[in-house]
Amino acid sequence: MATVSLNSGLILAAILFVIGFVGLITRRNLIVVLACIEIMLNAAGLAFVVAGARWGRADGQVMFLFVLAMAAAEVAVGLALAIRFRQALGRLDIDAADEMRG
């Protein structure tokens, strides 16, 4: 059985990460920005798993589990902030937060 090469996995992770980053800088909706952060974290986890599979060890998957826990914590706090954001500013546009200055 032919196995996937290391490069293919790492390139896939890099492409997904960059797409997530482009979404992060181009979208204004706060929820979509959070989703793009999830995409980037997922891509980083994919790179960990690929690197773990390179050596046939479990460490990459363990690191993915830590990334997963961090992503869950981040999205819980982020969505709570989004709810408060909407209540305080009345919309989900991240540009609305420029009124927070001062």
Binding site: A2, T3, V4, S5, L6, N7, G9, A14, L16, V18, I19, G20, V22, G23, T26, R28, I31, V32, A35, C36, E38, I39, N42, L46, V49, V50, G52, A53, R54, W55, G56, A58, D59, G60, Q61, F64, L65, F66, L68, A69, A71, A72, A73, E74, V75, A76, V77, L79, A80, L81, A82, I83, R84, R86, Q87, A88, L89, R91, D93, I94
Partner: protein, 187 residues
Amino acid sequence: MTTLFYIAGAVAIIATIMVVTRSQLVHALLYLVISLFAVAVVFFTLGAPFVAALEVIVYAGAIMMLFVFAVMLLDVRAQKPPRMPRSAWAGPVILIAVLLAELVYGITLHDHALAGGSVGPTQVSAALFGPYVLGVELASMLLLAALIGARHVAAEPTGAAAGEADAGTTGPEEAPEVPPAPEGVQG
């Protein structure tokens, strides 16, 4: 397995591009679920079935459920933020494309085959509760802190806390804007 990897990878890339380009929030979230499923298939082809199952259960299940609940609570249909003008994001996107090309070039300089075979839940669990047990404890602390933090942030300020937190910023105009759902959450 190699064919499965490339098909799933292509699906993941297409679905992720759709996440970034859809203007409807719910459509973007549905494409994000597809992207996470595709990455789960990629994990399976890489010989990581435990992580593939967790990707489906935690990412596509729990985290996306949080997103959908937030969309329900926020009633985002009412307003759509205007898109950023092309002139604002074209420059950064071109530069990041250059960086991506460099990264891909750097990755392709050396190629290695994967070890092959599958690393099952037994080995992952043995590593998780062996050398990495401190990380597991820290992750549990992080999740607890996130739980308390999310509860504290999302709760509507009441009484004295409201006076301190929201003094003069949004006081009178807050009431009509709040949808009825968040009050039910606090129960």
